[in-house]
Symmetry: C2
Subunit: 509 residues, 2 copies
C-alpha cells in the first residue's frame, strides 16, 4: 500500500482504531507516511513515535544503571495500547528476561505481549518458561510459527520443548524437522528429561586419537565455526570408541607435531546416556568440567552435556523441594486463572483438613476434662505448636541431608540419637519455662507440671517423627518434601493434644 | 628404623597397640617387615593387609556399578581401628566426595578420618565443606600443613578459605603466600564473598586486539598450559582496557592471518567487580557463557568468573531459603555437639513460643465462652490450622516469585487480587464442608455457621498476610524466608482464634 493511501486510511479511522493501526506499521515506514497526514494527526502520531524513542532512551539509561523495571514500562505501554512500544522494549531484552516478564504478567496481558515477540526469538523464550506457561503460549502460535521458532533452537532445547508440549503437537514439531535432525531428536527423546540422555546435545566435534595437533587445527579451520560452548573435543579411536577429551586449552598450547593420543585427558570419562541428573552433576563436580561427553553402551559418543544445563536442573530440583513442602507445583503459572489455582490448592487444604480433624477428634475425647478445667483449652495449642516447630526443624534437616548425601545409610542411627538428645535438652528447657509461665498465669502448679511433661513428650516424639518420616517416605519411593510436613504435623498435633489432655485427665481431676 | 627392629617392636606390643602401629606403616614397607615376624603375627598382620587389598577390590567392583556406600565401609574400618584402610579408601575418592563423607560422620570419627586425608588434598577437601565443619577441620591441622594444603588451591578457592577462617588464622595464611599472590589475594578479599569480585579468579589470559591469530597461537604455545576451565581469552587494547572476549572455539577455527580485533565478541561485556551474585548469574544466563571477565572501574580486566562457581552460589542460595524457613543455619554441621545445636534451635523455639503464647492469650480472653460451649475448644485448632496452611502457600509462592523475578513492583496488586480470589473460593468451599462436618458431629447449626465464617475470615486474612509479609520484609531488607513463616503463623493463629471464639461469644451465647 502506498504511504499516501495509508495516510488517507488513517485519517478516516476513529481515534483508538487509528492508534491501533499505527502501532502495526513498521517503524521505517512511519517517516514516509507522516508527510501525507494532516498536521494534527501528524503531530499526534509522530509524538507517539517520539514517545517510543524517548522510552528507548530512558530504558538504555536505566539499563546502564543495571536496573530496569521492564514490567512497569510494558504494563504502562499496554494500558495506552501502544503495542509497538512493547515490541521495541521486548526486542532489546534477552529471551530469558522476556520469559521472566511474561511469567510476571497476568494471562490477558501476557497474550498481548507474547504476540509482539518476534517469531525467530519465540522458541528461545519458550525454553526459559516454566512448563504450564510454556505450553499455553506455544498453543497460541500458529503451527507454522511454532515450527519456525523451534527450528531456531539447538537440539537439546528442541527436545525440551517437544517433551513439554501435548504429544500430538510435539509429534508435529518432530515431523517438521529435517530427516537427519529427526533421527537425532528421536534418539534424544527416548531418554527421560533429567537423565544424561535427556540433558545432552548432539553437536559434538570428534577427532581421531592417531592424528597430529596440526591436523586437528586444520580440520577445525575447515569447520569454520564450532558449536556454542565448545571447550572440549571428543577423541575416538579408529572404530569410533571414545578414548578421552581433548581440551581446546590444551590443543592451542600443544606442539603442532604431537599426536592427539598424548594430549587427551582420559580422566574425562564418557557419561552413560542413562545416568541420572544427580550422577551427571556429581561427575561435573568431580572433574571441574564445563562440558562432558555422553556415550552409548558401545562407548560411542552420542552427545555432550554442558554445565549450564546441569546447573539449571539442579536448581530446579531445590526449587521443587521448596514448593512441594507447601504443596505447590513449581511448574505452575502463578497467574493461572483463579479457578484453576483454587482447585489445586483445595486439594492440599483438603489433605490438611484430615490432619486438623484428627487433632479435633483427639480433643473431642477429652471434652469432659475440658469442661472441668477450661485453662487446658487455653494452653493446648502451645503443646501442638512447639512440637510442630521442633519436628519441622528435624524434618527439614533430614530432607536436605538426604539430598546432599550428608544423611545416608551409615549414619541414620547417629543422627537419631543426636536429634533425640537435642529434643531432650530443648524439651526440658522449654518445658520448665512454659510450665512456670502457665503457673504464673493460672496459679495452678499441677497444670504447669502437666503442661511441661506434655511439651517434653511432644518434642521427643517430634524428633522421632521428623527423623523417621522422611527416611520412610524415601524408602517407599515418595518424595519426602511432598508429604513429609503434613504427616509430621498430624503426628505432633495428635501426640501433643493426647499427651496434654490425657495427663490432665489422669492427674488433675 | 630397620625392618627387623620394627618387627621386634611389633612383637613386644599388646594386641591393639600393635595393630595401631601396623596401621601407621607404609604399604611398601610392610613386605620387608613381615619376614622378620613370628609366624602367628605374620599371618595376622599380613591378613590385615590382604584385608585392605580385598576391600580395595570390593570398592572397585562397587564403583564400577556406580554406587558405593563409602560411609559404611569407612565406619566399619574405623570400628576395627584399621586407619590404613580408611586412608586407602579416601585416596581413591574425589575431594568433593571426601568432603561429603566427612560431613556425614559424627565429630569424633570425622577427626580420625580427617587425619588420614593427604595434606596435598586437604585444601581441596576444605573448600567443599560447609563453613562450620571447614573451620573446625582447618583448626585441626598444624599451621604448616594448613599453609601447605592451601598453597595447592587456586586463588579464588584460597580466598574462600581465608574468608571462612578466624581472622587471625586467615591473616597467617595470607602472609604465607608469595608476595605477588598476596597482593592478588588482598584485592580479591576486598570484595564481598558473593559479589563478582569475590567469585573471580585472577588466572586470566589477556591478548591484544591488534595482533594476528598466528601471534596469539604462538603466545599460547609459549605458555605451555592454560588455567583450568579456560574457554575465553580477554582482549585488551594497547592501554590495557578490556575490548571483548575471544573464544578458544573461535580462535582455533579462524584464519591465521586475521587480526584478533575482527574475531572478538564484544557482547561479552566485562562484569563490574562490585556486581552482585544474582547479577552475575543473570549475565551468564543471557550470554550462555562458560566464563566471563571481571573488570575494575577503569575497565581493566582483574579476573574471570567460571560458570561452576556461579552455579554453586545460586544453589547455596536456594538451599539457604529452604533451611531458613525452618530456622536452621545452612552452613552448620548437622553432627555438631548436641549442646551447640540445642542452643541454636532453642532460639527458634523461643521465638515461636511468642506466637504460641499470643494465640493462648487470645483463647484466654474467651474462657467464659469456652466453659459454656466446650465444643468450641474441640474445633478451634481447625480454624488456625487451615489458615496457617493456606497462608504458607501464598507466602512460599511470593518468596519464590520474588527470588525468580515473577513477583515485582508492577504486579503486586494483581497478585493480591488473585490470592484473595483463590482464598474466597477455597474459603467458601471448605467453610461449607467443615461447617457441615461440625453440624454432623455436634448437631448444632449455630456452631457450624460460626465455624464456617471463622474459616472464611481466616483464609482471607491468610492470603493478605502471606502476600504482605514477604513484601514488607523485603522492603525492610530482611530475608522473607527467615522470618516470614513465624510472623504468618502468629497472624493466622490470632485471627483464627479471635474470629472463631469472638463470633461464638456474640452469636451463640
Amino acid at each position: 500500500m502506498h504511504p499516501a493511501k495509508v495516510a488517507a486510511l488513517l485519517e478516516l479511522l476513529e481515534n483508538d482504531k487509528r492508534l491501533a493501526l499505527w502501532q502495526q506499521i513498521d517503524p521505517h515506514r512511519e517517516g514516509r507516511i507522516l508527510p501525507h497526514l494532516n498536521i494534527t494527526l501528524r503531530r499526534e502520531l509522530a509524538g507517539d513515535s517520539a514517545d517510543a524513542q524517548h522510552a528507548r532512551q530512558e530504558a538504555q539509561l536505566d539499563s546502564s544503571k543495571g536496573e530496569v523495571n521492564h514490567l512497569e514500562a510494558i504494563r504502562e505501554a499496554l494500558g495506552l495500547k501502544k503495542l509497538k512500544r512493547v515490541g521495541k522494549i521486548l526486542h532489546r531484552m534477552h529471551p530469558a528476561k522476556v520469559a521472566g516478564l511474561l511469567e510476571a504478567l497476568p494471562p490477558e496481558e501476557r497474550l498481548s505481549v507474547w504476540s509482539m515477540v518476534e517469531t525467530e526469538r519465540a522458541g528461545k523464550v519458550l525454553i526459559y518458561l516454566h512448563d504450564e506457561i510454556r505450553v499455553a503460549l506455544a498453543l497460541e502460535l500458529d503451527l507454522e510459527d511454532l515450527i519456525a521458532s523451534a527450528s531456531q533452537l539447538e537440539l537439546d532445547d528442541r527436545v525440551d520443548l517437544i517433551q513439554s508440549l501435548p504429544s500430538e503437537l510435539g509429534a508435529k514439531l518432530l515431523r517438521a524437522s529435517s530427516a537427519s535432525q529427526r533421527s537425532q531428536l528421536e534418539s534424544m527423546l527416548a531418554y527421560p528429561e533429567d537423565s544424561a540422555g535427556g540433558l545432552m546435545n548432539a553437536d559434538v566435534i570428534q577427532v581421531r586419537a592417531d592424528v597430529k595437533v596440526s591436523t586437528v587445527l586444520r580440520y577445525l579451520r575447515l569447520l569454520e565455526t564450532l558449536p556454542p560452548q565448545t571447550d572440549l573435543l571428543m577423541v575416538v579411536d579408529r572404530k569410533g570408541h571414545y578414548q578421552g577429551g581433548l581440551r581446546l586449552s590444551v590443543l592451542v598450547t600443544a606442539d603442532l607435531e604431537r599426536p592427539v593420543a598424548e594430549l587427551l585427558d582420559s580422566a574425562i570419562v564418557g557419561i552413560a546416556a542413562s545416568a541420572s541428573g544427580s550422577e551427571v552433576d556429581q561427575r561435573f563436580k568431580e572433574l571441574d568440567l564445563l562440558s562432558a561427553p555422553v556415550v552409548d553402551e558401545d562407548n560411542r559418543v552420542i552427545g555432550r552435556i554442558t554445565l549450564d544445563d546441569v546447573a539449571d536442573l539442579m536448581r530446579e530440583d531445590s526449587e521443587r523441594t521448596l514448593m512441594q513442602m507447601a504443596g505447590l507445583d513449581d511448574e505452575a503459572d502463578i497467574f493461572a486463572p483463579v479457578l484453576v489455582s483454587s482447585r489445586r490448592r483445595a486439594v492440599w487444604l483438603g489433605i490438611n483438613l484430615i490432619t486438623a480433624f484428627s487433632a479435633a477428634w483427639v480433643i473431642g475425647l477429652f471434652q469432659a476434662t475440658l469442661e472441668q478445667l477450661v485453662a487446658l483449652a487455653v494452653l493446648m495449642p502451645i503443646v501442638a505448636s512447639m512440637g510442630g516447630i521442633a519436628g519441622s526443624q528435624t524434618l527439614t534437616l533430614v530432607i536436605r541431608g538426604l539430598a546432599l548425601g550428608q544423611v545416608q545409610k551409615g549414619n541414620f542411627r547417629i543422627l537419631l540419637n543426636r536429634e533425640l538428645g537435642i529434643s531432650i535438652l530443648n524439651g526440658v528447657l522449654w518445658a520448665v519455662v512454659i510450665a512456670l509461665l502457665a503457673v504464673a498465669w493460672f496459679g495452678h502448679w499441677g497444670l504447669g507440671a502437666v503442661l511441661g511433661s506434655a511439651i517434653l513428650i511432644n518434642l521427643l516424639c517430634a524428633a522421632l517423627a521428623g527423623w523417621g518420616i522422611p527416611l520412610l517416605l524415601e524408602r517407599m519411593g515418595i518424595d519426602p518434601a511432598l508429604a513429609g510436613s503434613v504427616i509430621l504435623t498430624t503426628v505432633t498435633d495428635i501426640v501433643g493434644f493426647f499427651a496434654f489432655l490425657g495427663l490432665a485427665s489422669l492427674l488433675l481431676l
